[in-house]
């Protein structure tokens, strides 16, 4: 249906016509009473609807879709339980600044606030976990509100937006004029300004620093500032440390890339932060997982913070120079002032900090019959030549993925960072695959998290998606067990978890599957999954009581990490390589 004509449509039709006008081709949703008028009108529009098994997953899919493509993801659900089920997905997108538009049906406007069947105050519930939300009670408001929702979701620091549309608004008719419904012109954000003076101060700090370090965050990917960051690093010979969500923003194989910082970052990365005399924070927010104790964080360093959100400045870490604005734009202003610089001494001293930590790495240990998650991830990285799009849940497998899968490209790792949501990987992989059908997509999950959203296996089959799934199965809620081991005297209360036979489970859905318990089987099973046309699940039965190292105890200083044991006590026969 053309969006140019001024036609009279029902509110339900206006929803789809507006989405079509915004360039939406796929939505993730689940029907229900209050959203049924919209579903009734869906067949008239060229929009693919992916039927999910739980509304939380619909939002995770829209989230994965947005992270994989950079476009706004759309999720749709009914009122009441449909809407409340979305909340975890919305909060996940909020904490990681992902542009998602959630549309919920609502009871008729005449009965709002009466506890009508399946009525819930979803805008009240989601107020703190959305960037903004709206209630629409009239058909004529649907197009302008939805268009504004897309603007809000995708502008500035992106985030999720919820639009709650009453059933009578969907049923009424109104003039539809897509162009006229465009968001009004907005005044410039008065706090969003980069003064020339700030640029000059930043350039001066960079050019005079002896031990500068770039902290590469998610904002680089969101802003599309990969080439600018690379130019800055290469021209001034500044090493780069990545946050979890910043992985892929700077090529892993680049000689200036040190790797991931923070709680489970490599020792030399965190030591470099503590030794640096200048931190250039690009699109990152000094989260507690990357700073450790704030009192002892980067004590020798001046800090430059470049971010689009003024409320992040001086929130956790006091900075000397703040440049508030779109990262790519700010760096475009800064780069002409950056001259080539000799960074050899500092890079050399970081190499010395690496010492034997780089080689004393579990993935380099010979096969002794045990299967370690690190081996699985490392082999998966080799098998896919580092080109796959990986999604993960939260926990040990997430950290092993971040340590052992080397991401060269932005948007190749999709993981729940801020909220740390179990069950994210599988639906996020579905969204990513829908967004990028040509990409090889792997969902990596633990045995615990996988069981939270495993019904979405049915979605994979129904939508005929070629997604591979790797379950890192250690029979525990692994990170919980690790914390209980470290902080609760090995009191493994409620962390051992029973799982069904995942191979049989997958087969029940019509998905090919295999179990792997030894290292020698890893490569060939991964290859079998890759060559199989259609979804494939591998249940990796890994060492049960393995621990993610290095580890910074919460509240400890960044340099006081627990290092990998020189010989892993679990590997009796292995010698330290």
């Amino acid at each position: 249906m053309s969006t140019q004509e001024h036609t009279r449509l029902t509110g339900a039709e206006i929803i789809w016509a507006t989405l079509e006008g915004e360039g939406v081709r796929e939505v993730f949703g689940y029907p229900g009473g209050a959203i049924l008028p919209a579903y009734d009108a869906l067949r008239k529009f060229p929009i693919r609807h992916i039927l999910v098994r739980h509304e939380q997953s619909a939002v995770h899919m829209a989230d994965g879709y947005a992270r994989a493509s950079g476009r706004v993801g759309v999720a749709i659900a009914t009122s009441g339980p449909g809407a409340t089920n979305m909340v975890t997905g919305i909060a996940t997108a909020m904490l990681d600044s992902i542009p998602v538009v959630c549309i919920t049906g609502q009871v008729g406007s005449k009965v709002l606030g009466t506890d009508a069947f399946q009525e819930v105050d979803i805008t009240g519930i989601t107020l703190p976990v959305t960037k903004h939300n709206y209630v629409v009670t009239r058909a004529e408001d649907i197009a302008p509100v939805l268009r504004d929702a897309f603007r809000v979701a995708n502008s500035g620091r992106p985030g999720p937006v919820l639009v709650d549309i009453t059933k009578d608004a969907q049923q009424a008719t109104a003039e539809f004029d897509f162009a006229a419904a465009a968001p009004g012109k907005l005044g410039a954000h008065p706090m969003l300004s980069v003064a020339e003076q700030g640029i000059a101060e930043a350039a001066e700090l960079i050019l005079t620093a002896k031990r500068p370090l770039i902290l590469a965050g998610h904002g680089i990917i969101q802003s599309g500032a990969m080439s600018q960051v690379r130019a800055l690093a290469e021209r001034a010979q500044i090493p780069v440390a990545c946050t979890l969500l910043g992985l892929g923003s700077f090529p892993a194989s680049h000689k200036l890339n040190l790797g991931m910082m923070g709680m489970h970052g490599e020792s030399w990365v965190n030591h470099s932060i503590q030794e640096a005399d200048l931190l250039i924070a690009c699109g990152m927010r000094f989260d507690d997982r990357v700073t450790g104790s704030l009192a002892t964080y980067a004590p020798k360093a001046k800090k430059i913070h470049i971010d689009i959100d003024p409320s992040e400045i001086n929130k956790n870490v006091a900075v000397q120079v703040s440049l508030i604005g779109d990262l790519a734009t700010v760096l475009d202003q800064l780069l002409p002032r950056i001259r080539t610089r000799d960074g050899a001494a500092w890079l050399h001293s970081i190499d010395r900090m690496k010492g034997d930590a780089a080689v004393r790495d579990i993935k380099n240990l010979p096969d002794n019959g045990h299967l370690y998650a690190a081996h699985v991830i490392n082999d998966l990285w080799h098998a896919t030549s580092g080109d796959a799009l990986i999604t993960t849940d939260v926990g040990q497998h997430q950290m092993w993925e971040a340590q052992y899968y080397k991401h060269e490209q932005p948007r190749s790792l999709i993981t729940s960072g801020g909220l740390g949501t179990m069950g994210f990987a599988l639906p996020a992989a579905i969204g990513a695959k829908i967004a990028c059908p040509g990409k090889e997509v792997w969902a990596i999950a633990g045995d615990g998290g996988f069981q939270m959203t495993s019904p979405e296996l049915a979605t994979i089959v129904q939508e005929k998606l070629d997604i591979n799934i790797a379950i890192i199965n250690n029979g525990y809620l692994g990170m919980i067990r690790q914390w209980q081991e470290t902080f609760y005297e090995k009191n493994y209360e409620c962390s051992p978890i029973f799982s069904p036979d995942f191979v049989k489970l997958a087969e029940a859905f019509g998905i090919r599957a295999a179990a792997v318990a030894t290292r020698s089987e890893v490569m060939k099973t991964v290859e079998a999954a890759r060559t199989h046309k259609g979804p494939f699940l591998i249940n990796f039965m890994v060492e049960q009581e393995d621990t993610v190292y290095p580890m910074i105890v919460p509240g400890a200083a960044l340099h006081e990490m627990i290092r990998r044991p020189s010989a892993n006590p679990l590997i009796e026969t292995a010698s330290d390589v």
Binding site: H132, P190, M191, D309, I313
Partner: protein, 205 residues
Amino acid sequence: MQHTFVAYVEDKPGVLTRVASLFRRLNINISSVTVGGSERPNISRMTLVADAPPAAGHRIMASLYKLENVVQVDDVGRFSSVSRELALIKVATTPKTRSRIFELVNVFRARVVDLAPGSLMIEITGSESKIEGLLQVLNENEDRVLEISRTGRMVMRRGHHTSRVLEALGDVESQNGAVSVPMVDALPEEEETLHNDSDLPHQQP
């Protein structure tokens, strides 16, 4: 420390909740909030007073700007400004105390707006300290205060400062440069005295 913000917000349902919820999330108590019309149609003006650490001002202001319905925020505590509050005070009276209270009301340039056999109602406008001054005297005189209703502080920056709302909304005048937006840190000496807040005795009459 006490922070005072003036926020221009869209006049829509739920906007007050969004602003209040922001302070709730930061665990900051709002000591007073006044909301009413402004010079622009469909834009309300809020004056928010909150106790928070000195460094929190920037964060609160930046967080307010993140709300879609907030058009402009001003941390007015940093500038020379006029602050006013309106209070209605109901005082118990006897034939003996009534004339003394009338006298007090006159000294404070307040007004008696209701008179009943056992009580009277005072309307007083001024700085918070002026209202507190009146209450203090009433208490010291052992006049029984039956009810107090205070509006909370409303604040406007002094001098030539004009709300940037006009500019933000693309007002023609401001585009022509007719509305100047100086960042008034300090005003000329005579202006300062001209607008002196102390239009009345503080504390003691």
